[in-house]
Symmetry: D3
Subunit: 208 residues, 6 copies
């Protein structure tokens, strides 16, 4: 690609230039102002209740911020992503509230709305709820977290549907084979030679 | 408020998205690039002259930056705020210069303009000077800083008007009762129930 | 003071050298590892309940850390300071819990101990409780926060004594006139000339 | 535990006080000087060769630092942990070198020692090599990274033993049930009531 | 200049406001997101090969980023500056590759393109190459780095022209005398009084 | 070197572990608490007087800190280094004071001691003054800063000796050839093969 055509000229006015200058137009662990994620965010006090209280607060705060981001964007992909996060983050709010309730007897859920737990206003979130994504707690392991059902049981506080612990990870999608992006110095197939890969794979009996 | 109308769409192109995503459209302690205030800014060396020299320098630098911000904005509220800061910050420049002069005999004020101390070019600042805001040093306490007059006395170096130490704080204004902002998850009156507050207050004899 | 006697040699092995190198052996806004306070700590979401939940969590976490610091030190001054902070921080835990309870009806206090709210194990804290320091919420103003009694009323959840709102600030102490510290370049009285101050003060009628 | 016995007094002189004040004597994501991990460490340029070169460099640098840490400690647990990291990190050095070799034909391994790849000097590392830990590349998934064998094949450049791709994760160990640590506000069993857990688990048919 | 005309109004929408508020419209050591340079970027491991590998990686990454910046801008001055950096940074890539080759025998250059080393696509870079700027390694000293020729010798790997070590610094240009910028509080000549300078200079025999 | 002898065991209790883990026991750009230098330290306002005032303040503050460091150490090398910095930093204090005086007519030097400018108490500094190091301002260039004499002329305010501008840099010392440090992965001569260097140098006619 001819660089003198300024193929990345749109990036000059982008909110976050790092996504264009330092990465291949993909995500880096920073916020919308370019501030990097920091290990200071990790809270691990050695006191189970305190850690749960922290996480309950954190998920409530994250939910408030997600709502605002939803209200900023109208791109369908952005809204679908935020809708997904609202559903899964809402599940986390409920999970920490239930854990605190089991440990203390306090009906923490009544503290809500901090902000409102309902996703009724977010059509993209509602679609994920039709797929029961607000009910399923995944263990992300075949062997660990087998006792999650001690906390995650009963009905969802808002919809009344039964909560469910799922062994393993959320079924994912095959990541797309992205096109060559010469303007990002991201070489395409002929640079890496798929035939060479195929040859090695065949010799090794590796299934591609 | 219906979030699918993207009521915060204007924030996507805002200079500082944090004011929309992380706060209720109010101020957070960060600069225009989203860099947070840091305790590194505190200078306390144990040497009085050195601390005064630091503060004198700091106020001069802040004044230069305020002038530039004034020249960037034409919103009347923004200009009024900067005008106020120019007047009060200018007072601080003079105060530190006088303190250094008392301690050392050096006529530090002659170092000015670093930048120009005059507010003649800033109409909004001039209005505050008509109210003598450039002359009044507040103690922000009924009992402390009683000796401030040892430094803050004589006439203002630019206008020749008499300097004045005022016991207590600058008279403020009643903060406004902000409207509900549902797009910011900022609940309004019916969420917090003013009647409930009034009832408790009446029982307690609290004046509201 | 003769610097070749290495009068600050003890500071080489001090946990925090900044207190000796950069300040006059006094406090700077940093933690025990020399990390400065940051404006990122400010949480102001625009949602009252969320802010209160944050502060409730924060005070619980701070209390846990204070307890651990108490267990690290045996210096009487350090213990007295931590004891004071345990009493006043414990008051803040109760205050935020009561505020959340008024807004939501949830008995947030039952979440405790996160960690234990009792100061029985800390003799220095108990002394401050004998002075009712765990019961008094100060407004730190003559005119503001007049409605604090709507939240801060009734009895202390642990001791059963009546809670009290106090208009104004905690009575302080006269700060000591520190000695000259030549090893810290902190000049003493003859550098600043008290007679000169006295003369100016007399002329101005300033009471010293 | 009686806090007036200063049960954490040893922490006053600890290198990193955060592990005692802010966490339950466990690990937080910071280095030995208390500097937190930052997202700035993530390198994702959109150019595969450049990313591999970064990772090759990174693993070489990490290996140098691990060697130095080994030379600082003589605690058997610390040495075993560093020995494990030397073996696994050494495997990563080889993996990135092989990937670059496949893509470019350059025998990157010849750049070594940067530093020396041999673990002969580290008895604890040698034990892990007897268990073939330097040969096994894990996919940490049942379904992903099926093509890892295209890179990870042939013999180990130092020992000549055959390299092996293992589907799934490294077999772990059951995490220990840590004792109550009252000096860390880490409540023990009677605070969380194992009987309550057991009852809920039995009702739910959860295996504990 | 009359500040009420908002002479800096363009800066409100500038990517980086610091260049207008905190500096005189010149450069500060920060990136396009306002993140300051940090000493963390310094890599000095005590191991020569590791340091060279770091620098080789660093220059390759910097080259990728420069290419992207070139593709973002179409201002001739910006492109000329980036073109210059591409040529000189490309020289550094080759220099570190050659140093590693001498030390290890590995033909590191074959790792390229990471990204492509050719400047053919960048007309502004080509102009600097016509001046042999891709061939000349400067010692920036009359006396130091006399052995640089041990590494920097032979022909350029892309153009085949002979490499050259130049004793001393790149010939520079006389920095321009910038105009007064009253909107930036940058005083002009009459504030500093050139006559006064000339008088002192004459008395001292200083050549101006 | 056998790592199981823990040859770096002394570093476990070192103030700054980075110098052992991340570097070859040499210096990295960080302070005694491991905080890295930051570009935030650069002050360049576009206003010459303001920049000079900043630098004058900065040098005064640095001098105070150097004095304290001197008082912390008794190692002769450390004291010699601090003594050198006291002399050269004191020269900078005078230089900025003189520049401000020329521009404003204010006798800034009278602000001193902030702290005391005298080096009489520091024997190691006195030795450097015997070599006139407090009088010589270097241009660090053959061609630039030719007008420095406009500011740097007359006599030293403390000793009365004549100030002198020196074209070029301070005469340095040949950096020592450090021994191999295997415990730091710092390879020695046989790894880099001096004969190979000598051969290349001879062929190239490079003088070593």
């Amino acid at each position: 690609m001819d660089p003198t055509t300024a193929p990345l000229s749109g990036a000059v006015d982008a909110r976050n230039t790092s996504h264009f200058i330092a990465s291949g137009q993909t995500a880096l662990p920073m916020d919308s102002m370019g501030r990097f994620w920091s290990g200071e965010n990790v809270f691990s006090s050695g006191n189970l209740k305190l850690d749960l209280l922290h996480n309950f607060f954190l998920e409530c705060g994250a939910r408030a911020n997600k709502m605002r981001v939803y209200e900023m964007v109208d791109d369908p992909t952005a809204r679908t992503m935020v809708g997904y996060l609202l559903v899964r983050g809402g599940l986390h709010v409920v999970a920490y509230a239930k854990a605190l309730e089991v440990l203390t007897g306090v009906d923490v859920k009544k503290l809500l709305p901090i902000p409102d737990l309902s996703n009724d206003a977010f059509p993209e979130a509602k679609k994920f709820m039709e797929n029961k994504m607000h009910l399923k707690l995944y263990t992300f392991s075949q062997d660990d977290y087998t006792q999650a059902g001690i906390i995650w049981n009963g009905d969802h506080p808002e919809t009344g549907e039964p909560l469910e612990v799922i062994k393993g990870a959320i079924p994912g999608h095959t990541p797309p084979d992205l096109d060559e992006e010469p303007q990002l110095n991201a070489p395409g197939a002929d640079d890496i030679d798929p035939q060479m890969f195929a040859d090695i794979a065949r010799k090794l009996g590796v299934k591609m």
